[in-house]
C-alpha cells in the first residue's frame, strides 16, 4: 500500500542496518563454539572434523574444576551482597525524598562507566595498605562494587511499579516497618530480586579485570582461562570452556529478564 503513513511503513535501510548490527556484534563470538568442535589444535579454516575431544579433556582437568568452584563461590556471595544492598538502595531511591538524589544516584551508578582497571588498582592499593592479603574475599569485594549498579538498575522498576498506598495499607492494618517489608514489599519485588541475583551472579562469574588485580592464589575461571592462553596446545580446551560460559551466561541473563518481564509494564501502567 503506497498510501500508508511513513510511521507504519517498514523501513528497508533500517532493517538492513539492524541485521548488520547484530552480525557485527555476535558473529565473532560465534567463532568460539565453532572452533571448539574442530578436530585441530589450530584455529584456522578450513575446519577439519567434528569432535567432542576438547570438552572431554576439560572434564578431566582438576584445576578447571577448582577455578569453577572458586567462581561459583565468589558469584554467589557477590550476588547475595549486591542484591541485598541494591534492594535497599532501590527502595530508598524510589520511595524517599532525599536531598541531592540525582547526583547520589549518578554516584552509585558510577562503576558502570569508570574503567575497571582504575577501581581494581585503587582497591589493590587500599587493601595492601590495610594489610589485607589477596584472596577470594577481596575478589568478592571488588565484584560487589561492580555488580551494585546492575542490581539497583534491575530492581528500581520493580519498586516504581507498585502503588505506595499498598505499603501504607499494611501500616494502617497494624504492621510495623519490618513486617510490612517482609509481608508486602519483599514479595512484590521478589521477581526483581531473583532477576538481580541471576544478573549479578553472571557479571561476577564473567568478570576479569577486578579479579586480575584482587585474586590471591585461588584463580577464578576467567583468571584460569587467561593463564592458559600462554599454552597454544591448551587453546582448543579454552575455546570449549569459553563456549560453555557463553551459553550459561546467556541462559542466566535471559532467565532473569524473563522472570522480571512485567516490571516495566507495571511501571508504565501507573
Amino acid at each position: 500500500m503506497s498510501h500508508t503513513s511513513y510511521i507504519k511503513r517498514p523501513n528497508r535501510p533500517l532493517q538492513f542496518y539492524a541485521a548488520l548490527f547484530l552480525i557485527v556484534l555476535y558473529v565473532p563470538v560465534l567463532f568460539l563454539p565453532l572452533f571448539s568442535f574442530n578436530d585441530s589444535v589450530y584455529v584456522r579454516f578450513p575446519l577439519k572434523g567434528f569432535t567432542f575431544q576438547w570438552y572431554v579433556e576439560l572434564m578431566d582437568r582438576e584445576p578447571v574444576w577448582a577455578a569453577l568452584r572458586n567462581s561459583i563461590q565468589v558469584g554467589i556471595a557477590t550476588s547475595v551482597f549486591a542484591t541485598g544492598l541494591g534492594m535497599f538502595a532501590a527502595k530508598a531511591i524510589t520511595r524517599y525524598r532525599i536531598p541531592g538524589k540525582g547526583p547520589l544516584v549518578g554516584f552509585i551508578m558510577l562503576p558502570l562507566v569508570v574503567p575497571g582497571i582504575i577501581f581494581g588498582v585503587a582497591l589493590l592499593v587500599l587493601l595492601s595498605r590495610m594489610g589485607i592479603s589477596l584472596s577470594l574475599y577481596t575478589v568478592t569485594i571488588g565484584h560487589v562494587i561492580v555488580c551494585l549498579p546492575f542490581a539497583i538498575a534491575t530492581m528500581i522498576p520493580r519498586f516504581e511499579g507498585f502503588d505506595p498506598a499498598i505499603e501504607e495499607a499494611s501500616a494502617d492494618l497494624g504492621e510495623n516497618a519490618w513486617w510490612t517489608f517482609w509481608r508486602v514489599t519483599f514479595p512484590m519485588v521478589f521477581p526483581g530480586v531473583l532477576a538481580s541475583l541471576l544478573l549479578t551472579f553472571t557479571v561476577s562469574f564473567d568478570e576479569f579485570i577486578m579479579a586480575f588485580f584482587l585474586t590471591g592464589t585461588d584463580p577464578t575461571l576467567p583468571m584460569y582461562i587467561w593463564a592458559q592462553l600462554r599454552f597454544p596446545k591448551e587453546f582448543p580446551s579454552i575455546l570449549a570452556l569459553a563456549s560453555i560460559i557463553l551459553v550459561v551466561s546467556f541462559v542466566l541473563v535471559f532467565l532473569g529478564q524473563w522472570i522480571n518481564r512485567d516490571a516495566h509494564a507495571a511501571a508504565s501502567k501507573k
Binding site: A165, I166, E168, A171, D172, L173, G174, E175, N176, V184
Partner: protein, 365 residues
C-alpha cells in the same frame, strides 16, 4: 483530655508542605457513630486532613484527639483507625481471604478462627465464596468491598474512607452509596468520608464539613448546609444559588427586611447576629424556591423579568430570567407537572414569585 466529649477532636490544626499551607487552622469535632464527610474540590486539603487522622501526615501545629487520646506521637500502625484507600491498595500477591485476614496476624488466632472471621466479613460484604479469588480477578466494586472488609475485620473505632466510590461507574456508585450507609448503621463505627461529590456527601452523611483552601467553611447537617449556607463559597459549592445585593431596612424576630436590587422588598431568614438596619448584605435563593409565571401572581412577593433561556430536562425545566439591575440571569428550576407543549422556551416577559421563607442572608455581604 479534650475540652468536650467529641470522639474525634481536631484542634487548631495547621499543615505546611514547605511554604504551601495545606490546612489552615481547622477545628472539627466528630461524634461517636457519626457518618461524617469532608467535602471540597481537589486541593482543598480534605485528603491531607484524612491522612493526618490515619497518621500518614503529621500536623505542623495543633493536635488531633481520637477517643480522648492525643495522636501526635502515635504511628499509623498503632492508631485505632483504619483506612479505605482511593486506589483500594489491595495486596496483589495475596488472595481475597489473605487480604482480609492481613491485619489479624497480631491477634494470634487459630487458622480456623481466622477463616471463620473472614467468612463472616465476606458474608457482610455480600461476596461469599470469593475467598480463593486472586486480587487481579476482581472488579472495581469488588475491590472496594474487599478493602472495606479488610479494615472492618479489625473492628476499628474509626473508619477513614478516601473517595472510595470515585473509581466506580455511576450505577454501581449509587448502589454502593446505599450499601455503605446501611453497613455503617450495622457496624456502628464512626465513618470519616472524603469526597468531592456534593450529591454523594448529602446522601450519605450525618454531618458534612465543606472545605476550601485548607479551611473548614461550614460544618453542618446536609439540610442546613443546603438551606442555610453561611457564605457564597458554601452556597455555590453545594447546588446552584442565585445571589442578590441589598440593604437591610428592618430586622425583627430573626427575619430581615431587605431592599434588594431588582426585586424590591424581600424578607430573608438565616440572619447573622451582628446584622443592623442600614447595612448592605448579600441575599441568596435556591432555583427551586422561585416560580416563573406568565401572568402576574395574585398574592405573595414577586418581580418582573424577561425569560432569556430555558432548558427542558424531562422531569423538570430550568429557566434563566433577566432581571433589571442583577448581573447574572436568575436561575429557576420547576417541576414539569403539566405535560410540556414545547412552547415554554420562547422569549417573553414573565413574573418571578416566591414564598415568605425562600431567601437567606449570607455572612459575607
Amino acid at each position: 483530655m479534650t475540652q468536650n466529649d467529641a470522639f474525634i477532636s481536631i484542634r487548631n490544626v495547621n499543615k505546611f508542605f514547605g511554604k504551601f499551607q495545606a490546612i489552615a487552622d481547622v477545628s472539627i469535632d466528630i461524634q461517636h457513630g457519626e457518618f461524617f464527610s469532608l467535602l471540597g474540590s481537589s486541593g482543598c486539603g480534605k485528603t491531607t486532613l484524612l491522612r493526618m487522622l490515619a497518621g500518614f501526615e503529621s500536623p505542623t501545629s495543633g493536635e488531633i484527639y481520637i477517643d480522648g487520646q492525643p495522636m501526635s506521637d502515635v504511628p499509623p500502625h498503632h492508631r485505632p483507625v483504619n483506612m479505605v484507600f482511593q486506589s483500594y491498595a489491595i495486596f496483589p500477591h495475596l488472595n481475597v481471604r489473605d487480604n482480609i485476614a492481613y491485619g489479624l496476624r497480631k491477634q494470634k488466632l487459630a487458622r480456623a478462627k481466622r477463616y471463620e472471621m473472614v467468612d463472616e466479613m465476606l458474608e457482610l460484604i455480600k461476596l461469599p465464596d470469593y475467598g480463593d479469588r486472586k486480587a487481579n480477578e476482581l472488579s472495581g466494586g469488588q475491590r472496594q468491598r474487599i478493602a472495606l472488609a479488610r479494615s472492618l475485620i479489625l473492628r476499628p473505632k474509626v473508619l477513614l474512607l478516601d473517595e472510595p466510590l470515585g473509581a466506580l461507574d455511576k450505577q454501581l456508585r449509587e448502589q454502593m452509596q446505599l450499601e455503605l450507609r446501611a453497613l455503617q448503621k450495622t457496624v456502628g463505627i464512626t465513618f470519616v468520608f472524603v469526597t468531592h461529590d456534593q450529591e454523594e456527601a448529602l446522601t450519605l452523611s450525618d454531618r458534612i464539613a465543606v472545605m476550601a483552601q485548607g479551611r473548614d467553611l461550614q460544618v453542618d447537617t446536609p439540610t442546613r448546609l443546603y438551606e442555610n449556607p453561611v457564605n457564597r463559597d458554601v452556597a455555590s459549592f453545594i447546588g446552584t444559588m442565585n445571589f442578590f445585593d441589598g440593604t437591610v431596612s428592618a430586622i425583627n424576630d430573626g427575619i430581615a427586611k431587605v431592599d434588594a436590587v431588582g426585586l424590591g422588598e424581600v424578607r430573608a431568614g438565616n440572619v447573622p447576629s451582628g446584622l443592623r438596619p442600614g447595612q448592605s448584605v448579600c441575599l441568596a435563593v435556591r432555583p427551586e424556591k422561585l416560580t416563573v409565571s406568565e401572568n402576574a401572581p395574585e398574592a405573595g412577593s414577586n418581580a418582573r423579568g424577561l425569560l432569556e433561556n430555558a432548558a427542558y430536562l424531562g422531569e423538570r425545566s430550568h429557566y434563566y430570567v433577566r432581571v433589571d439591575g442583577v448581573s447574572q440571569p436568575v436561575a429557576v428550576s420547576a417541576q414539569n407537572r403539566q405535560r410540556a407543549d414545547g412552547k415554554a422556551e420562547d422569549k417573553r416577559p414573565v413574573w418571578l414569585s416566591w414564598d415568605e421563607n425562600a431567601f437567606v442572608v449570607l455572612e459575607d455581604g
